[in-house]
């Protein structure tokens, strides 16, 4: 197939800055060279292309709008959008990986995390050394997450979580999960590290969609007090 030249019927490029076009073209090239040649193989096998993580980090895809002091690219939102567009021309599963890492893990840590959490997690997530996931959906609560059952309790200077999450992109490979749970009836976010007692995330099989992205069957938090 001939090389992809973009689709721009309305000369929308004239509304973009030079920097925005540069970012877009960098990701376009990355997708042509690194994603498209290998993606069908992963899609067939139902495997996530781990080898792409470093390359994605090198071109600044993770947390692209966050400050440079955390090792992020500090781009505007249009440039970030163009990055997602180009990446998804490769594959929606690969774009989902990047969306979760950036929008659902790094962004909430940046917005709501403590200074200590930001300094520790953001640079590692930006480099792709650590992988994150976001757990909101539960087996019985999808469109209505406010009904969630997962509970948090304050205990011994930390929190104890109990419940199960489902359909959590990156869940099987994540080093850290942003988990939503009710604390005294109010939904709050918690960072749960892999290896925490009671944290399990077995892989889901049989997906006909987003096959080059990993989704665990269920993530369980069983850290009961009793």
């Amino acid at each position: 197939m001939a090389k992809f030249q973009g689709v721009d019927y309305y000369n929308i490029d004239s509304l973009l800055s030079e920097d925005e076009i540069l970012v877009r073209n960098t990701v376009r090239e990355f997708v042509d060279e690194q994603v498209i040649p290998i993606i069908e193989k992963h899609n067939r096998a139902g495997t996530f292309p781990f080898d792409l993580i470093k390359g994605m980090a090198d071109i600044g895809l993770f947390g692209a709008t966050l400050p440079a002091k955390y090792g992020c690219a500090e781009l505007n939102n249009v440039a970030y959008g163009l990055m997602m567009q180009e990446l998804e021309r490769g594959d929606s599963g690969v774009r989902s990986f990047a969306s979760v890492q950036s929008g659902l893990v790094m962004y909430p840590i940046y917005q709501f995390g403590s200074e200590e959490q930001k300094d520790y997690w953001l640079p590692k997530l930006a480099k792709g050394e650590k992988i994150g996931c976001f757990g909101l959906t539960e087996p019985d609560f999808g469109s209505n997450p406010g009904g969630m059952i997962t509970r948090a309790e304050k205990k011994d200077g930390g929190y104890v979580l109990n419940g199960a999450k489902m359909w959590i992109t990156n869940g099987t490979i994540a080093d850290v999960a942003v988990v939503w749970a009710k604390l005294d009836g109010v939904v709050r976010g918690f960072l749960v590290e892999k290896g925490t007692k009671g944290f399990t995330a077995p892989e889901m099989h049989g997906k006909h969609s987003l096959r080059a992205s990993v989704t665990p069957k269920r993530i369980c938090f069983r850290n009961r007090k009793d």
Partner: protein, 148 residues
């Protein structure tokens, strides 16, 4: 907040899937000969290609303005719902049209079409289903929440 950030990226992302499907369709239609002509020369193929490129262009404009509003700190989350809802819906429609243009070849993984089409079935569900985004915009314009 964080859901907005990811949804915003999805609204842009699916333009990429749609572009991949359109690009492959245009090339295929120009090279596949039936009845002694490239299939691109038939009116019904042109209608599909025109629909695809028009919807891609509309999606690009929705996202660009959304991004400019976001950069100015003026974006409303209901506006993200509009871009996510519209763009995923049309990306899926474009993927299905692309499959038709590729004929039987459209089902093979030699072409990216079925992979994008199948992937978009997840994308239209996650980060707020098509229906939930309809109701979010519906509440915003009418003042009536129709979720329950």
């Amino acid at each position: 907040m964080c859901l907005s950030q990811a949804r915003y990226g999805i609204a842009w992302g699916v333009i990429g899937s749609a572009m991949a499907c359109y690009d492959s369709s245009l090339q295929y239609a120009k090279s596949r000969i039936q009845f002694g002509k490239p299939i691109a020369a038939f009116q019904m193929t042109q209608e599909k290609l025109v629909h695809m490129v028009t919807e891609i262009t509309k999606a690009q404009l929705l996202c660009l303005q959304l991004g400019r509003l976001k950069d100015q700190g003026k974006m409303k989350f209901t506006q993200i719902s509009m871009a996510k809802r519209n763009n995923v819906y049309f990306a899926l429609e474009i993927a299905r049209m692309a499959r038709a243009i590729h004929g039987a070849n459209g089902i093979l993984d030699e072409y990216p079409i079925m992979r994008h089409a199948a992937n978009l079935e997840s994308v239209i569900t996650y980060e707020g289903t098509h229906e939930m985004h309809t109701l979010i915009i519906g509440e915003d314009i009418t003042g009536h929440a129709a979720f329950m």
